[in-house]
């Protein structure tokens, strides 16, 4: 841990006096190097982060290479079907072991000097070992790869932590688990990540991604051009069925809300005006037969964005998305997006899901590209000291402590409920959890 991060208190960055109607966040949280360094150590390398979906490591020997904070790691499906996650760095001199982002192997052979590791991370062969090491140094285990501190998955979503002294994953997820249920349980045969990924770099702090994912307030301004564009398209092409875009929420006011789901997790929802244009609608009968009415309502009629603190968004809105966020520096964030979909959905539903994804979510799409531009403008505007505070009190008077009716119906316990997706009450939970992690380390319960 660096001395800067150790010695500094970050408490003055969040002006939390909600009793007096004040909740402000210093814009230095987006720009300050010491803040960023502490975030990497204490949040990204100090607790649970999202790694991948189980469908990306399906068969024994499948690996998926990613990072936890700065540390390259890989998830490996073991021969017995369980998952392992290892520090992706050769025990010899540290080279990253996986040749590709994703693959299937019996063993991983380091391409530098040829050491070989089995699927369980055991070093099973060292080139010319007997010539280089005394017999007693060859004792088993010395050169095995290190496992990460904690690894677990929830409904197919795999999370890991470099540290082992973290709460159980289920406790970390808090009320967000119920929102993951909504995504996972809508798929009779499970979910799969669809082939194809897009990675883009946003010149803005990673927390702007977090905020943006549950910020309903920008939708009717920033995305009005998306609504206008798709509306003219649909008029011209006389588009029907799933080819249509659900744009009622962009054009006007619909029932909506946000939640502080605990531990920095946040959720946003808005009512669909035309749920029948959604690819999942074809599963309606099965959903009604197999899930509780409140679950069916939440799945079919409420578009949802879930932010699982700190590094992933699970979207079930125009399309279904995993958005993985990787901080590079205070002002630089790498974002990778994947389409996740129910296995076995009809070809028409799959194609419609992909087209909606490409319309909206990509940096080559017609909405996410505008989001990225907006976030970059926020980053630029936050650089000068005279422009210090982000006020986040919008809708504070309407904030409900604990669950609202929708949460009670579905059965989850948010820290707080906002009755309008244009309100900002969920950010209180985000920045309080963020500060707690910076001040108190790992977020150990």
């Amino acid at each position: 841990m660096s001395s800067t991060a150790q010695s500094r208190s970050f408490r003055d960055l969040v002006d939390d006096r909600v009793d007096e109607g004040v909740f402000r966040v210093d814009r230095a949280v987006y720009t300050d190097e010491a803040v960023f360094e502490a975030e990497i150590e204490r949040i990204f390398e100090g607790g649970w982060v999202f790694l991948c979906h189980e469908s990306q490591v399906e068969k024994p020997g499948d690996y998926w290479a990613t990072e936890i904070g700065r540390q390259p790691v890989y998830v490996m499906r073991q021969t017995d079907g369980s998952l392992g996650c290892y520090i992706n760095s050769c025990s010899h001199r540290g080279a990253v072991l996986t040749p590709l982002k994703q693959g299937n192997v019996n063993v991983l052979t380091c391409r530098f000097h040829g050491w070989v590791y089995d699927r369980g991370g055991r070093c099973i062969s060292i080139k010319n070992e007997e010539l280089g090491y005394a017999a007693e140094e060859r004792a088993g285990g010395r050169f095995d790869l290190r496992r990460i501190g904690a690894l677990d998955s929830y409904k197919g979503f795999v999370f890991g932590s470099l540290r082992s002294d973290v709460p159980a994953l289920r406790d970390h997820l808090a009320a967000a688990a119920r929102w993951i249920d909504l995504l996972a349980d809508q798929a009779r045969d499970g979910l799969e990540v669809v082939p194809g990924c897009s990675t883009y770099v946003v010149h803005g702090n990673w927390k702007l991604q977090s905020e943006n994912s549950v910020d309903g307030y920008h939708v009717t301004t920033l995305h009005s051009v998306f609504a206008a564009t798709t509306a003219q398209r649909e008029a011209r092409d006389a588009t029907g069925g799933m080819g249509r875009t659900e744009s009622g929420r962009i054009r006007g006011k619909v029932p909506s809300g946000t939640y502080d789901l605990g531990n920095g997790h946040m959720g946003l929802w808005a009512q669909h005006i035309t749920p029948h244009v959604r690819p999942i609608y074809e599963a309606r009968a099965w959903l009604e037969d197999n899930l509780k009415p409140a679950e069916v309502d939440w799945i079919l009629n409420r578009g949802r964005n879930l932010h699982v603190f700190p590094n992933v968004m699970l979207m079930d809105n125009p399309s279904t998305q995993i958005r993985l966020v990787k901080p590079i520096s205070p002002a630089l964030t790498e974002v990778s997006v994947y389409c996740i979909a129910p296995r076995g959905e009809s070809p028409a539903a799959r194609a419609a899901r992909l087209r909606k994804f490409e319309d909206f979510y990509l940096t080559a799409g017609m909405a996410t590209s505008d989001d990225a531009a907006a976030l970059e403008a926020v980053q630029n505007g936050s650089t000068g000291p005279p422009s210090q505070w982000n006020d986040m009190t919008r809708g504070l008077d309407a904030l409900v402590t604990g669950p609202d009716q929708g949460a009670r119906d579905l059965g989850f316990e948010p820290v707080a409920s906002c009755p309008d997706w244009e309100h900002e009450g969920m950010f209180l939970g985000f920045y309080r959890a963020w500060l707690d992690r910076l001040e108190n380390g790992t977020g150990v319960a």
């Binding site: 590709l100 194809g196 770099v201 990509l362 590209s369």
Partner: protein, 168 residues
């Protein structure tokens, strides 16, 4: 006739059309650009499925852009011209440089060609140089060669800034 049996006049015509498209995009002459496309033209930029391969089936896999008629290209122009798209105001400046144009086949009015394109982009975040491989299909409509299909293999896989029709 050139050695591969492709008519030299046709080769010149194809190269001129690809060059013209690049020029019209760089100069933002959107309507003339749209006129180069057949009404049912397919415009497809696959995503990368791995370090080595792009996606290959747009109906079941993710793409950067997959538009199935010229109207969908008009939508992109509409969005740019609206001046309401934050990503498109100010619009990045571009210079397309086309090279390696090869007519691969010509059967009657159906012509296929490949080409490379380097696009130099200058925008809010500075300058970037990006590369694409083009796979074209052309059709002759009322005597004029039109783009029936354009597949863009965009080799960049960590995208800085927006990627729209004028970047490709």
């Amino acid at each position: 006739m050139s050695a591969d049996g492709i008519d030299a006049g046709l080769e010149r015509e194809v190269a001129a059309l690809i060059n013209r498209e690049a020029m019209l995009l760089d100069r933002r002459r959107w309507n003339e650009w749209l006129d180069l496309y057949a009404e049912d033209a397919v415009y497809w930029a696959p995503a990368w499925a791995s370090e080595e391969e792009t996606t290959t089936d747009p109906e079941t896999q993710l793409n950067l852009i997959y538009l199935k008629n010229r109207g969908r290209l008009e939508d992109r122009v509409f969005r740019i011209e609206s001046r309401q798209s934050w990503a498109s105001l100010p619009l990045d400046r571009t210079v397309h440089v086309i090279g390696n144009v090869l007519v691969e086949s010509a059967e009657g009015d159906a012509i296929e060609a490949t080409a490379n394109c380097i696009v130099h982009v200058y925008g809010k975040k500075g300058a970037a140089t990006r590369g694409s491989r083009y796979d074209f299909a052309f059709r002759r409509i009322d005597g004029a060669l039109r783009i029936a299909r354009k597949k863009i293999t965009f080799i960049d896989d960590r995208l800085e800034g927006p990627v729209d029709i004028y970047h490709l």
